[in-house]
């Protein structure tokens, strides 16, 4: 997603400076996607150029606060009003890797599957630990982590499905035709 819409949405709550925006973005989304401050300031500069934010007051410590313009407010509303693009999925390295592992001779596909399953379950454990450590008022962050949890779970189920399909295929067809040694 674009950092841009995230920052604009946070500015709907009132003026903030760069580091505050970074911290709010991360807390709100379960620290799942850390931002670097540099990225926040470049985005703010671009939004200022496009007239969607403008500089507000400077506080005692010299932090420059930004606030939303009407154009910025319209941009956020347009974001809420549109759906997130899902038609053309981003290139999935794992699916590509597996397709190639199945067709290129001599690859231990079952080993590839298990290595990935372990790695994905390990990531799932990390999401779960972080989610359980959230304070009781962390509903938004916990729902974000849930989304990572469900996505990782879906990946494990897909890996299980691949392995079961390969096992069935190797039982019913002549052995080692395409290098899949399941």
């Amino acid at each position: 997603m674009s950092v841009k819409h995230g920052l604009l949405a946070l500015l709907c709550e009132g003026p903030r400076y760069g580091y505050e925006l970074k911290a709010a973005f991360e807390a709100r989304t379960g620290e799942a996607w850390p931002l670097n401050v540099g990225q926040v300031y470049t985005t703010l500069a671009r939004l200022e150029r496009d007239g969607q934010v403008e500089r507000d007051s400077e506080d005692a410590e010299g932090h420059v606060h930004y606030r939303l313009t009407d154009a910025g407010r319209r941009e956020v509303q347009a974001w809420w009003d549109s759906e997130v693009e899902r038609e053309a999925p981003p290139r999935d390295e794992l699916a590509i890797k597996l397709a190639l592992a199945l067709t290129v001779p001599g690859v231990d596909v079952v080993a590839v599957l298990q290595r990935q399953r372990t790695a994905t379950v390990r990531a799932l454990q990390a999401h779960t630990r972080r989610r359980r450590a959230l304070p009781p008022d962390g509903t938004a962050a916990s729902l974000v982590l849930d989304s990572l949890v469900f996505a990782a779970e879906a990946e494990v189920r897909w890996l299980d499905h691949c392995e079961a399909r390969l096992a069935r295929q190797s039982r019913t067809s002549s052995p080692a035709r395409n290098g899949a040694r399941a």
Binding site: D108, V110, A111, Q114, R115, R117, T118, A119, T120, V121, R122, L124, Q125, H127, T128, R132, V149, F150, A152, E153, V156, R157, D160, E163, A164
Partner: protein
């Protein structure tokens, strides 16, 4: 000071039948579960998950290898000793629940305590508290066939957690539960383990396995990998 594992499997093997009809349900499995540790076991249907659990709970004996609960080899216990261990130290959630249909929910939960000599009234109080923990306090007097599948499952969980169980073995304890109720069960299991018990959770749902400290993967009766260790380079043993 060395910590005594709550559960230890050393080369645990279980073979059904002999000769060409032999089924190798479990082959040379090593597993250590420490106090305060929850280990999840994942694997395809028929990979040996329930077999591993029945050996760990002393419900079935290994064909070869050894199973130790709190350092005690189960092969050295007679039937009475095993029964006592199952009543006292081990809490077991069966894949098919195993509730007694002639007993109410609270009686089902109280039974292992009573069998172990706890006075009936005290057992009932503890059982009721365990049912309240799984949010079934008001259904305590119902018989299993008057409860939904998910409610029966929670009774089975209360029965496994009642009293002071130092080893909790759960076979698909979240099977019939929706995702939020399933989570309540995992929380209970987790808090019992965090309080010092050892736990083994069999599940085919990665989302639930992720509550464990370590996830072990079984294939055809063999441990092929685990999340605690570096990924194994080869899976020859599983073929």
């Amino acid at each position: 000071m060395t910590v005594v594992p709550v559960l230890e499997l050393r080369g645990a093997t279980r073979t059904h039948g002999t000769g060409e009809h032999a089924v190798h349900a479990l082959r040379g499995v090593d597993l250590v579960v420490l106090p305060g540790e929850l280990v999840a076991v994942m694997g395809a249907s028929g990979s040996g998950k329930s077999t591993l659990l029945t050996l760990a709970g002393g419900l079935d004996a290994a064909t070869s290898g050894e199973v130790l609960v709190e350092g005690v080899p189960l092969s050295g216990l007679d039937a009475g000793g095993l029964a006592q261990l199952r009543r006292r130290a081990v809490g077991y959630v069966f894949q098919d629940l195993n509730l007694l249909p002639a007993l109410t929910a609270v009686e089902n939960v109280a039974l292992p305590l009573e069998l172990d000599g706890v006075r009936a009234r005290d057992a009932r109080v503890l059982a009721l508290r365990a049912l309240e923990e799984v949010e079934l306090g008001s259904e305590a007097r119902r018989f299993p066939d008057q409860l939904s599948g998910g409610q029966q499952q929670r009774v089975a969980i209360a029965r496994a957690l009642v009293g002071v169980r130092r080893l909790v073995l759960a076979d698909e304890p979240t099977g019939a539960l929706d995702s939020v109720t399933g989570e309540t069960v995992l929380e209970l299991l987790r808090s019992r383990v965090d309080a010092g018990a050892g736990g083994v959770l069999v599940t085919h749902e990665a989302r639930h396995a992720a509550w464990a400290d370590r996830v072990v993967f079984l294939r055809d009766g063999v441990v092929v990998d685990e999340t605690g260790a570096a990924p194994a380079p080869s899976f020859e043993a599983a073929r």
